[in-house]
């Protein structure tokens, strides 16, 4: 489980170009400058590839902070 969280944080750190230590469940789109719409798409694509899942267009629209992503992953059967 810890392992999957690490994988997710690594994606976020790469896409948003921020240090892994700055990321937690409360990290949100508002407080992260580089979290724009283009990078949201990059993040979605990376998450889908790394976790071998496919998200719906509705899912993508509700993502606002890291905990939303964690919820989404859980509802797709990923233990995190």
């Amino acid at each position: 489980m810890k392992h999957n969280e690490e994988k997710l944080y690594k994606i976020l750190s790469e896409v948003f170009e921020i240090d892994i230590s700055e990321i937690n469940h409360q990290t949100s789109q508002e407080e992260t400058n580089s979290w724009d719409s283009l990078n949201t798409v990059r993040m979605i694509v990376a998450i889908e590839n790394i976790f071998s899942i496919r998200l719906d267009i509705d899912d993508i629209s509700i993502i606002n902070k890291v905990s939303d992503i964690v919820e989404l992953l859980r509802s797709n059967g990923i233990e995190i």
């Binding site: 790469e14 896409v15 170009e17 283009l38 798409v41 990059r42 694509v45 990376a46 267009i57 993508i60």
Partner: protein, 627 residues
């Protein structure tokens, strides 16, 4: 297998230490280091970071760029932001810096003409027109049978083509239109009537025709999309979410295909395929397993997959790609299967060089390149053994060495996906070239038999023909100008479009030379562009194929120019030599011809010849009208 296009599986994985320190590495200002890392498989974020870093370095006035730069303008009605960093990385992998501009959203024709009018656009080498059926508004049309929709789409593309050709002076790249997965008929979808996909089909056929009749490049992305499978290629979610024209999983292959096309237009596609033998052309080790033990026979599943790879290589050879062998084997064992196994598709004669010995493969490949007078950067090397692949990558970074899967069945797919041998034109001379390299072995045999070089040259019974290049026969001359690295006087790389201009310019004349000997017709092997300036002739371009080095053709060619100069009462013939790391032998030719150097520049030297002088070097070629 299906992931070849998604992962670009022919690229080596990025080593763990580089991947871990990627962020730190991208703080460098060293373009060579960035370029080295671009050879590996990179994910979207890494590609983006690399591109961003380059843009930062580029802004610094001190930035050193010893790489060629290509300027590309992208015209599209979709989001391209995800693709540009992959495009940049693909170009860098091929040794170019790609400067990419995007037109803002809106109607392409009006935006483009507006920007041209306001002088807002800089100069571009290439303009990519990337459209889809949504942007072109292609819909079903049962009333009018699709005529209006077809005409409107073609007209729009033609208006853009005219703007680019007349105002921008850049080479246009037109992308084929990808079909839709949504069908309303099913089986008869593209046959019955004017459905969306049927109209797309017709438009693509017309686009191909338009591009073949002009100097526009046809970027057949539909073919790639079909190979990937439209259901994978298209991602409707991401289209509606962010106007992505296709799934961003495929931005890597899209970029690679586009850059291959540009590379090919610049004459830099690969020419030579060097192959390992054991476990690459047949299963098993001939030295250990013997003729009966190796797998290369019909009826055996594994054997047939090796034969299929041989057939693929044979097909490449038949379109002009030169084949060679580089194997750790005794010379006797290496040729045994070619001679004794009748199922083998490839035969000894298909290879221009066979190197079978125990020395290291980097040295062997270097020797193959020098025997064939080809540059290392024109070589692709295939070997099942990862250690050999890494050794060659390490010592000969110019050579392309694809990663290959364990299963030989996918080798042809890897080579075709990597697109090493992309070609924008095809002529009979291409076929002749590969044959000629094999015949060269016989010439070498004759040479070994003759003691005197001029006796040998005379025994070749060479005949040459000079003719003027016109718009109708410029494919081969352009190819020669683009591809020749060694015997290249001025290193001016002229595209088909530029040559067309010169043909229509009365100051310039372009001559091509064809050489034949008793073994083969070598086809067009030398091109000279002369510019007349009052009573002087300036050799703007002079190239000669490395296949005919050492046959005195350069003296024959110059003698023809000299005859012309005398006829025209020319006072001086000038030649300007632009030094590259490969074209020193042109200097030797100029000296032998008795050209006198008249300046002292290091990299750009000016030479003159007084036509009252005669040619003092002999040649062994007769002039004949060959046709």
């Amino acid at each position: 297998m299906l992931e070849i296009y998604k992962d670009l599986s022919w690229l080596p994985e990025i080593p763990k230490d580089l991947s871990d320190s990627f962020s730190d590495l991208m703080k460098t200002a060293d373009i060579e280091l960035i370029s080295k890392i671009s050879q590996y498989k990179l994910n979207d974020s890494q590609a983006k970071r690399m591109h961003d870093r380059f843009l930062e370095i580029n802004e610094s006035p001190k930035s050193k760029k010893n790489k060629d730069e290509i300027k590309l303008l992208i015209l599209s009605s979709n989001t391209f932001d995800f693709i540009i960093s992959k495009l940049f990385v693909s170009a860098l992998r091929n040794g170019f810096l790609l400067d990419i501009s995007l037109l803002p959203f809106g109607n392409i024709v009006s935006l483009l003409s507006q920007q041209i009018e306001n002088n807002e656009l800089k100069e571009f080498d290439y303009v990519l027109l990337s459209l889809d059926y949504k942007g072109l508004n292609i819909v079903d049309d049962f009333d009018d049978n699709g005529k209006d929709i077809f005409t409107n789409a073609i007209n729009e593309i033609n208006s853009i083509k005219n703007l680019v050709n007349d105002q921008l002076n850049a080479t246009l790249i037109v992308q084929s239109i990808v079909k839709s997965t949504e069908s309303i008929f099913g089986n008869l979808e593209i046959h019955l009537t004017a459905t969306r996909n049927k109209i797309i089909h017709e438009i693509n056929r017309e686009l191909l025709q338009i591009t073949l009749d002009s100097n526009i490049l046809f970027f057949d992305i539909e073919e790639t999309a079909n190979k990937v499978g439209l259901l994978n290629w298209l991602d409707p979610r991401m289209y509606y979410w962010a106007k992505l024209p296709f799934s961003s999983n495929y931005s890597g292959i899209y970029s690679s295909k586009l850059i291959n096309l540009i590379i090919s237009d610049r004459g830099l596609s690969k020419k030579l395929l060097v192959l390992d033998l054991d476990n690459t052309l047949w299963g098993g080790v001939i030295g250990d397993d013997g003729l009966d033990g190796i797998k290369a026979s019909i009826g055996d599943p594994k054997g047939e997959s090796f034969l299929n790879f041989q057939e693929y290589c044979k097909r490449l050879q038949s379109r002009g790609i030169i084949l060679a062998v580089c194997s750790k084997n005794s010379p006797e064992n290496a040729v045994l299967p070619f001679r004794e196994n009748l199922d083998m598709v490839l035969k000894e004669d298909d290879f221009a060089v066979i190197k079978a010995n125990w020395s290291n493969k980097a040295d062997n490949i270097r020797e193959i390149a020098s025997e064939l007078n080809l540059g290392l950067d024109s070589i692709v090397f295939i070997d099942d053994n990862p250690t050999e692949r890494n050794l060659v990558r390490e010592f000969l970074p110019e050579v392309s060495v694809p990663e290959v899967p364990v299963d030989i069945s996918y080798y042809p797919e890897i080579i075709s996906a990597a697109g090493y041998f992309e070609s924008i034109r095809f002529s009979k001379d291409d076929v002749r070239r590969a044959e000629d390299y094999s015949v060269n072995k016989k010439r070498v045999a004759l040479k070994t038999g003759s003691t005197d070089i001029s006796e040998y040259l005379s025994s070749l019974e060479m005949q040459a023909e000079m003719s003027e290049v016109s718009v109708s026969n410029l494919t081969r001359p352009v190819q020669l100008i683009l591809k020749t690295n060694q015997f290249n006087l001025s290193n001016k790389r002229r595209t088909e479009k530029e040559i067309e201009k010169l043909i229509n310019d009365p100051r310039f004349t372009i001559f091509q030379f064809r050489l034949q000997d008793k073994f083969a017709d070598n086809g067009i092997v030398s091109v000279v562009i002369i510019e007349r300036k009052e009573d002087t002739i300036f050799l703007d371009t002079w190239v000669m194929s490395c296949r005919v080095f050492g046959r005195t053709l350069e003296f024959y060619v110059f003698n023809e120019i000299l005859k012309l100069a005398k006829e025209l009462e020319i006072k001086k013939i000038f030649a300007e030599h632009r030094r590259s790391d490969k074209n020193n032998l042109v200097l030797d030719a100029l000296k032998s011809l008795n050209f006198k150097r008249i300046d002292k520049n290091k990299d750009l030297s000016l030479w003159e010849f007084n036509p009252v002088n005669c040619l003092e070097v002999p040649f062994h070629i007769d002039a004949t009208s060959l046709d």
